[in-house]
């Protein structure tokens, strides 16, 4: 993957190409072994995937561009895995890329045709309302919530590819610019450029070509939200729960066996909702678990060791693939200063997109095993 951050001198195709070269070099394969490509991106325009492959001279492959909001990159991985499971291909690349700083400055807003956008909804305000409700129902304090960006930016400070490399304190969070009460600037993921790529192989191809460092993708689940018949609780995520159940069942691995997770912390409160929706922590328990250090890299169940979206950055299309890159490196023991001790099972979770009346647009859960 590329460094995440601001890349004023390159575009989404440059970043995607850099990520592709990195993945090929890591796998130690001849790039001509790649039989197909899936490329996730959101705001980069038509055929960005083709522009990536053109940069590296790979021509003629079947390629599909994938858009699923913040789950675009993760969906590209799932599509690649399906092509292999279907027996159609043996070596497939999944790329996620986004040059977001050239498209957005401040908060991303939902599509203006959305009835909620029409009355003033912004992405942070929707999560702010969920945070307010969670505080009311479970007694979470503002200081407890601040510990999540503190943790994630501390992890990011140990990640050379992260957007933010500076540790922060609870006071820094509470004194940062208010965005949508109770959320402040440090509660929000930044506008980031970046790309990541992974190479997926069939068992047969892995025996032949992998350099012994491959890890197993045990499950790659995808769901879209349902239209609510009754208003759903905004402090629990049935979509995350259902997608996770699909993944646990497919992998034959339960939440109690997960050693660490990369989850979609687009906002501090989102990390709470996600880990509880995944069944990794009981509902209402996560804020005090973070306070005890359970979610730290050295803790019982590290969450977002890469720095997460808040610390590492959130280049929409790149995000889901970068999560899997982090999990692969952690499982191989190649994560340097932020290495978790001896993990066997890692889980990646993405969700994104907003459509009124739907709990969430797209959600993915992937489970990787050493």
């Amino acid at each position: 993957m590329t460094r995440f951050g601001k890349h004023p001198d390159s575009d989404a195709a440059d970043l995607g190409a850099e990520a592709l070269h990195g993945a090929v070099a890591d796998a130690g394969i001849d790039p001509r072994l790649i039989e197909a490509a899936y490329v996730g991106h959101v705001f980069q325009g038509m055929v960005t995937g083709q522009r990536v492959l053109a940069q590296v001279g790979l021509a003629g492959l079947p390629l599909a561009n994938v858009e699923n909001a913040c789950s675009s990159g993760a969906t590209a991985i799932r599509e690649a895995s399906l092509a292999i499971r279907a027996g159609e291909h043996d070596v497939v690349i999944a790329i996620g890329t986004e040059h977001l700083t050239s498209k957005f400055r401040g908060a991303l807003t939902p599509d203006p045709s959305d009835p909620e956008a029409a009355v003033g909804a912004t992405m942070p305000s929707v999560y702010a309302m969920r945070a307010r409700r969670y505080m009311e129902e479970f007694g979470m304090t503002r200081e407890q919530l601040a510990l999540i960006p503190v943790k994630n930016k501390s992890n990011a400070a140990r990640n050379p590819l992260a957007h933010f490399r500076k540790e922060i304190t609870v006071e820094d969070v509470l004194e940062s610019r208010p965005i949508a009460d109770p959320l402040r600037l440090h509660d929000c993921s930044p506008v980031t450029d970046g790309a990541a790529a992974v190479i997926l192989m069939s068992d047969k191809a892995a025996k032949q070509h992998s350099n012994g460092r491959a890890v197993k993708l045990a499950a790659s689940a995808l769901r879209t939200g349902t239209v609510d018949v009754e208003p759903a609780s905004m402090t629990f995520e049935p979509l995350t729960w259902a997608t996770a159940q699909d993944a646990y069942e497919r992998a034959g691995i339960g939440p109690e066996e997960v050693d660490f997770a990369e989850v979609h912390d687009c906002f501090s409160i989102a990390e709470v909702l996600r880990v509880e929706g995944l069944g990794l922590f009981k509902q209402g328990d996560y804020p005090s678990a973070v306070e005890r250090g359970d979610a730290n890299i050295e803790g019982r169940l590290p969450i977002n060791p890469s720095g997460g979206l808040i610390g590492k950055g959130h280049p929409l299309g790149g995000t889901g693939v970068a999560q899997v890159v982090e999990i692969v490196r952690q499982l191989r023991g190649e994560s340097g200063d932020r290495q978790i001790e001896g993990p066997r099972v890692g889980l990646a979770h993405c969700r994104g997109g907003k459509a009124v009346g739907i709990e969430g647009a797209a959600c993915t859960v992937q489970i990787l095993v050493r």
Partner: protein
């Protein structure tokens, strides 16, 4: 057209504004199972029936949660309060909150629909939109 400042609904499919200044939010009711949806839908996600009728929702509900928005798009002047109100039909609708100091807003407050000026159309004619305000006597 009455002499009042009542304009055209900012989104006629979602908000009915009548000449006398009253109005309702519009949605769908499933004739087969009774489920309600906002905004109007083509089919029921509960039972998949396509026998849906457009209905007016009640104008009184309860504040489920809220936020004070401090940063927004150029179309909205900050700060403003935004909330979700639960209505008896079983729908939750987002809207801005008016008629109360921003630091007085609380989860669980009874709220009523309030038709208010809400921007202009492309020719500069005033549009009417909705906000939610605390119910009288609250």
């Amino acid at each position: 057209m009455s002499a009042s400042a009542v304009g055209v609904s900012f989104r006629p499919g979602e908000l009915e504004v009548r000449p006398d200044g009253t109005g309702n939010q519009l949605g769908s009711r499933c004739s087969a199972c009774g489920a309600h949806f906002f905004p109007v839908r083509e089919a029921c996600s509960g039972c998949l029936s396509d026998q849906l009728e457009t209905v007016r929702f009640s104008t009184e509900g309860t504040l489920y949660t809220f936020s004070i928005v401090r940063q927004s798009t150029p179309a909205f002047e900050v700060p403003y309060a935004l909330g979700y109100v639960d209505f008896p039909e079983g729908v939750r609708i987002m809207g801005q909150i008016s008629g109360i100091d921003l630091d007085e807003i609380k989860i669980g407050m009874p709220m009523v629909l309030s038709l208010e000026p809400f921007g202009e159309d492309e020719e500069g004619n005033p549009l009417t939109g909705y906000r939610f305000r605390p119910a009288e006597g609250n």
